[in-house]
């Protein structure tokens, strides 16, 4: 397809979409009977509900089914795929790595975001200072991985040049396990800290001034103010930020794929899911890994949503 043809196809699908929606809305809005309101509301809501049903509900149930079948989805094997996940040495390492990612990334990214938000609040170059941390959020994880390749590369990487200069020698940063996991995690922290900083910064600015004035009258200041006033005031937001980054971390596979390809003992759950499902074409094990991601994400999301509700209620 040529350039023009591709863009034309994109315009065509948008045109078709609006034509269909207009048709449905015009037809249903003419119904004046008592059933009118019902039919009209269905016209508004059913397209979205139908797509969500086909795109999320049906596949989720289907995946659970696939996870109980063998590699080629021909016969049921019970919980064998799950048993493999929790007994196979390589997959156990994948679980261990995932645990490391999930613990380190949210905590460090949130901590950096929080410290930076406090340090730059009402600073002279606040906007610029914040934009610097903020920008990696707009970059794809593929782009971020490429950016960091120029840091970690053996020969032309910045990190080796640095460690060499200060006398720590040169290292294969992405090959030597288990530290290579940490170097990969750094990339995701670099991307996610901006999200934490932005959300926390807004929350910090919303702390009522009378609380602060009162604390100051009691002689609270500096680090104590941070520890006993700032942090408790934004606690619900902190939890939302932590859980949101946890969810992102569990699902992100791009960094591992682009840097080590899961080699050198760096694979994580989301990458292993991708590898098993679409490279080894082992749909049974792949689906079981997907369901495991689902199960791990579930409590975090529920907790996240409950915290958000609390925030809204305040």
């Amino acid at each position: 397809m040529s350039t023009g043809e591709k863009l034309l196809q994109a315009l065509i699908v948008v045109a078709i979409f609006f034509a269909v929606v207009t048709l449905i809305l015009t037809l249903t809005s003419r119904v004046r009977s008592r059933a009118g309101e019902l039919i009209q509301s269905m016209a508004f809501v059913l397209p979205a509900v139908g797509l969500v049903g086909v795109g999320l509900l049906y596949p989720a149930i289907n995946s659970i089914n696939l996870s109980l079948k063998d590699k080629y989805s021909t016969k049921y094997v019970g919980f064998d795929n799950y048993k493999t996940i929790f007994t196979d040495a390589d997959l156990l390492r994948v679980l261990g790595n995932t645990a490391l990612w999930v613990v380190v990334t949210p905590i460090v990214a949130t901590l950096i975001g929080l410290i930076y938000a406090v340090l730059t609040d009402h600073a002279r170059f606040e906007r610029t200072a914040k934009a610097i941390i903020f920008l990696p959020m707009a970059i794809s994880l593929v782009g971020a991985s490429l950016i960091w390749k120029f840091v970690y590369d053996d020969r032309i990487g910045l990190l080796n040049a640095f460690t060499d200069t200060v006398g720590l020698g040169r290292h294969h940063w992405l090959i030597n396990s288990p530290w290579n996991n940490i170097w990969l995690i750094v990339i995701l922290i670099w991307v996610q800290a901006g999200f934490a900083m932005t959300v926390l910064s807004a929350s910090i600015k919303a702390i009522p001034t009378d609380i602060i004035e009162a604390a100051k009258l009691d002689g609270v200041g500096g680090l104590k103010m941070f520890r006993f006033i700032t942090v408790p005031s934004i606690r619900p937001t902190l939890i939302v930020v932590l859980t949101t980054i946890t969810i992102t971390t569990l699902k992100a596979f791009d960094i591992v794929r682009q840097t080590t390809g899961g080699n050198y003992k760096t694979s994580v759950l989301s990458y292993e899911y991708y590898r098993q499902s679409f490279q080894s074409a082992n749909w049974g094990l792949g689906s079981a890994l997907a369901v495991l991601i689902f199960v791990l994400v579930l409590p975090v999301v529920i907790y996240n949503i409950r915290q958000m509700r609390k925030l809204e209620a305040r």
Binding site: T3, Q40, F44, L57, L119, D121, G143, R314
Partner: protein
């Protein structure tokens, strides 16, 4: 609120909590910490940008900071990336990204606004249950959906080069479906803030729901739709997983093609650098120019109120 003597106490300056914390933290160490973080966040990207302008031989043999001691600039990398043919010419893939992103942003926003309107201002049986179900489906990670959806698309003939529109439909559909739960939820939150009297009085005057939706709701919802639109744009533009699973080489977005290049031409640092920069400059521009909408949407999503 009780009037406290605070008003009479000569408080020299009004400080916010973090400002007060900062006052003590503004020791040289604190400034240094902020500075170090800022440097840490800038230098890697600067390295990429500088590398993209260095000649091939230089990029491959020396670190990018050598440009300060041995300056050498070239636009050759960008020329290859834009006009090159075969896998190193990235222009067709930027076009793919645009062709994927435009419908995958417009369609879900419109569908979600419609659904959000119905959930907020229309009456129909099972409304609450349906809303809770859609809300709950936000928790489904897309990983769980990909294999069954792939099977479905193959059955429907939407998958592969020979499918209608070269296989774009499976990408448009997937991005739309994955966006809907969050979009409906966020837009519903905004929708509830519109005063009910506005809709009631329009109803009294005999306006149909479609008229109210198009003439009253739509203009009011523009900022919220823009906020979600940026989120969705960034998500689709930067997506790798959906593109790899449902797209083929010919319809790969720039991000997926870049990922593939990093695998096959891993030593061509000069091309990867300029390619990566081209791929990230577009979302950066969109992001910076629409930032104020984005922050609003972001906060509505995570710390509303």
């Amino acid at each position: 609120m009780t009037v406290t003597p605070i008003a009479q106490v000569p408080v020299a300056e009004k400080l916010t909590a973090p400002a007060a914390a900062k006052k003590t933290l503004t020791s040289p160490w604190a400034s240094l910490a902020a500075f170090v973080i800022a440097v840490f966040w800038t230098v890697p990207t600067a390295g990429l940008l500088i590398s993209s302008f260095r000649p091939e031989h230089d990029v491959k043999t020396t670190g990018w900071w050598h440009i300060f001691t041995h300056p050498s600039f070239t636009f050759e990398n960008y020329r290859t990336v834009f006009s090159g043919t075969g896998e190193t010419g990235l222009f067709p893939f930027i076009v793919n990204s645009i062709a994927i992103t435009v419908p995958a942003v417009i369609i879900p926003i419109f569908l979600a606004t419609m659904a959000a309107y119905a959930f907020a201002w229309m009456r129909f049986p099972g409304k609450d249950l349906l809303f809770i179900m859609i809300f709950a489906l936000q928790i489904v990670p897309i990983q769980v959906t990909l294999v069954p959806l792939l099977n479905l698309y193959v059955k429907l003939g939407l998958q592969g080069q020979d499918a209608p529109a070269g296989g774009f439909y499976s990408l448009w559909l997937s991005h739309t479906m994955f966006a809907l739960p969050l979009a409906i939820f966020l837009l519903h939150n905004f929708m509830r803030e519109i005063p009910g009297e506005l809709i009631e009085s329009a109803r009294m005057d005999g306006a149909t729901h479609v008229q109210i939706f198009l003439r009253v709701i739509f203009p009011l919802m523009m900022p919220a739709m823009a906020a979600f639109g940026i989120l969705q744009f960034l998500w689709v533009w930067n997506d790798l997983l959906v593109a790899l699973v449902f797209g083929g080489f010919k319809i790969y977005p720039i991000n997926a093609q870049l990922a593939a290049l990093a695998g096959t031409r891993g030593s061509d640092w000069h091309l990867l650098a300029s390619g990566a920069f081209v791929s990230l400059i577009i979302p950066l521009i969109v992001f910076l120019s629409l930032q104020r909408f984005f922050v609003r949407g972001l906060l509505a999503g995570s710390v509303k109120g």
